[in-house]
Symmetry: D2
Subunit: 305 residues, 4 copies
């Protein structure tokens, strides 16, 4: 009800202005997406219901949003190892990613930047028999859906153009922070990023972060309350590339964006929300997505500040 009206107002507002920003075009599959798509879905804990608007049921490439899922899966397996291999602090600008990795001797600043997520991927490969299958099953258990899958074309395109990721992974390997074969790790990493979901599916999937680590469905506890707090805290300080401070100010919720134009955000104990609009601002985050979430927290008074 309330949320229905709020989402309608948001959609009207954000779709009213002239289009800004550009679709990611470093791989052709992402470039082909209709730039004017806009969808938004909010899962309300109290109502146990999804409120949605626009292209909320259309799947898109979740890209870096998957880093939160991979981290959660890793935490659910072993809470210790990952924090010995990855830090939890924000990083500086992207230029410094290789510099910092070099200076900090192969320990990535946090698990939501590429080198950190690559280490998480490596750990999952070591711990799981069929890591790709296991990750899909994990996402399926969170979402209650059984047809979540990888986009193989996207995954292989990422592999063709991801030279900087190969550079990072090899540097990590040189520092001894990658156990498996670099190609295998990155194959898994690129597949992870190629998962496709809709806004409503994402809102449902990420509900556990609003709910102390429990899904709303029959799956129950995914990670502990403390682990959930940790994941949310990392999203708050590190979820938006070089715009974490800006997002924290404007939206005031922990969240994570992807270059496919998706963003998920969490209001602990209240809701999980996902928004999709493929045009990105110059920092690589969805232009309208950020605007929509800013309006959401303004209108619901739910910013934490």
């Amino acid at each position: 009800m309330e949320y229905e009206k709020i989402l309608e107002d948001i959609a009207e507002d954000v779709l009213g202005g002239p289009p800004e920003g550009a679709v990611a075009d470093y791989i052709s599959e992402l470039a082909r997406v209709d730039p004017d798509k806009f969808g938004m879905s909010l899962y309300c804990l109290e109502d146990d219901a999804i409120y949605a608007i626009g292209d909320s049921e259309e799947r898109f490439s979740i890209q870096s949003i998957s880093k939160v899922l991979a981290l959660t899966l890793a935490l659910s397996i072993d809470n210790e190892e990952i924090w010995e291999r990855v830090d939890v602090e924000p990083s500086g600008d992207p230029f410094n990613s290789l510099v910092q990795l070099e200076y900090e001797e192969g320990i990535p600043r946090n698990p939501l930047i590429n080198p950190g997520a690559i280490v998480v991927a490596d750990m999952l490969i070591s711990r799981l028999e069929s890591p790709k299958q296991a990750l899909l099953e994990f996402v399926q258990s969170l979402s209650g859906l059984d047809d979540i899958g990888f986009n193989e074309t996207v995954a292989s395109s990422e592999a063709d153009t991801g030279h900087r990721n190969f550079a990072l992974a090899n540097l990590l390997k040189a520092f001894g922070n990658i156990d498996n074969d670099v190609d295998e790790v990155l194959d898994f990493y690129f597949h992870m990023c190629s998962i496709e979901m809709s806004c409503s599916e994402l809102a449902q999937t990420f509900a556990y972060l609003a709910n102390h680590g429990r899904t709303s469905g029959r799956t129950g506890r995914i990670i502990t309350k403390t682990q959930t707090k940790r994941v949310n805290a990392i999203m708050q300080t590190c979820g938006f590339y070089d715009e974490a401070g800006e997002f924290t100010f404007r939206v005031g919720l922990p969240g994570k964006s992807g270059v496919g134009g998706g963003i998920v955000a969490i209001h602990p104990q209240e809701y999980s929300v996902a928004v999709w609009s493929p045009r990105l601002n110059e920092k690589g985050n969805s232009h309208l997505g950020m605007r929509a979430l800013e309006l959401l927290t303004s209108r619901t008074g739910s910013s934490i500040f």
Copy 2:
């Protein structure tokens, strides 16, 4: 009541363990402080009352906590200029401070790291006739006290040992981001850091950040609601040197620490809190201060995550 009991429990808990960490000793005035001091004060918005425990009325050197006050004063004068000269994003590790400044051509990452606060100081000098006097009056108006002052011995000791700050200020000047004389800017900056306040005075002073920019007293609005949100967001992502992520996780509130062992934190619409314990952890933040605030948000359920 409730807070009274909570503070008592916290004090008992944190004072029960063996002492950890060491007092900052790079200037003798700080080194001379009794390392076992512990005070904590919480200003509750609803009650318009201060709850305090321990050495809560003893003044100490607030050091970098003053950066928030200087930023607030600058915002109250002009909301635009500072954001043209300083960014709002977290920085990486301390090693990178000069590197980042160099790469980003003299634009500090945020106003709570030293180079950012030095630019804020420069702006205040340009805008105010007697900047030191004006800053004291501003803090006095926030706190309702008229005897807040600088510790001249601390200020001049900082000047004697602050070579890295002179390096930063001169690099900023080389990039054209300091208008005034470097010595004058740093003299003001070191004075700013030498302000002495007690926990209760700090809790009272920072109440405006919990109250949409308004003091509880007769002074009224200091900065706008949006500016307040901005300051809180910056504290959330950048307030703890290289431990912002850890503080966000453990405490889950925007805050700012100083090497004097003080920390202030804000629960918007609820309370402002200050804690003091001079022993610092290896990242330079008060060991027991962090622990005390973690206990506070655990027991009140007031973490944002």
Copy 3:
């Protein structure tokens, strides 16, 4: 004669002291070498003769010395392209290799550091039909020998451990400064480094750099006089990792070292010289090799300073 005596004196001197330094052990083939090997050979232009001592006829892995040969081959094909893709200035410390590459947007500082040699390898692959075969034939034409070859075990061991080189090559590729497949480029690069030659063969092979670009044999001109000057100048300023200044001071000749323990040096118009001793100093250059060359230039008065 004169040189014969000088080499004898040098051998006596360097072999008299206690062994210092350690053999490179990052791949097992290099680690297996007898650390006490010592050989030295000098090709005198005037006499058109080789003077040699010790294990001067035993082949070893020339490693980075091959970078000079690859650069020469590239120059003999096209003098322009390589200087558009690689600079000619010394680099700072090894830590900065990735940093500098990042800052200078994929243009390596010079062709004798790894990223520069990788770009040279890429260019050779683009220009030559069978680059490995062509490189061997080129070296054979310089040396007058037809049995120079790669050590496949060394090459594949390098590939297994060369994560930092994969990082560099992928970063170069991300900046568009590698045209071919990274694996193919590094396969060629690792083969290049695996060439095995003896001191006498190296002295003969590098004679062209002492002789304005001409071999002593029937092959004739390899590169122009100006190109020869360029190669020598680059060896002078960049030939010894982070010890170029020290080598320039102690030996005073352009030269290039390899982690196999070999060093070649050139006295233009006078001689080319090669020395081999597998124990490396902490900067990665042959400990006795540097000492032997220092004695050579001291005794012949042939340092340029």
Copy 4:
């Protein structure tokens, strides 16, 4: 004779083309210099005579050329200390100067870059009673002139604009590699750079580097043969900011340039040479000065490569 003709040819050649490059203008005294000045002087060891052409007797600001004189004076006092505080290796690009200093914990890469020369200045202040007077007397003893002096206007202008040097000096101080007051050290450093000499005076002054450390006059030995070799080696690898490799290739002699448009170069056992032309190329070295020296070594066949 021979040199007379060669200098005439060089002057004709370099002055024949259209002017290129721009005079340093960061301080007004340098900007006021006539950009078309050109002078060149060569001191021939064998003849004990100076050959000169053009504006060879007009004094100009020697700027960074003075770093070699300060280093020599420091070596003549104590050969050990300086090498504990400064390295002898080339540095990378200028961007990295602060980065490298930070990473290498306050040890400058070499004594001919600004941080290295600042450390040399600090050492001279500690060792000499009246360092400014002592430096002038030292230069007077090398040159045989008694009216060499500082340009106070230049020195104080440098102090007004040298923010980056203040940044470097304070960072060095923070690392404990400056013993004296930063302002005092930089005052000496800026005075050192403000010395004014003519080409002929420079050629005479630097004769000791061509003569194993001995002046041609009655002063005799300045530094040892080994120290001389060290200074020349450092000039060879580090004397030209980010163009050391290019100068080594084109000229092939150890040398040092200054932003006043002067360059000195040394052919050990043969000659010392100074050239002056104020227009600088984009790397900050005299455009015609480099051309003139390139012609000199081409025509005399005296390049070392």
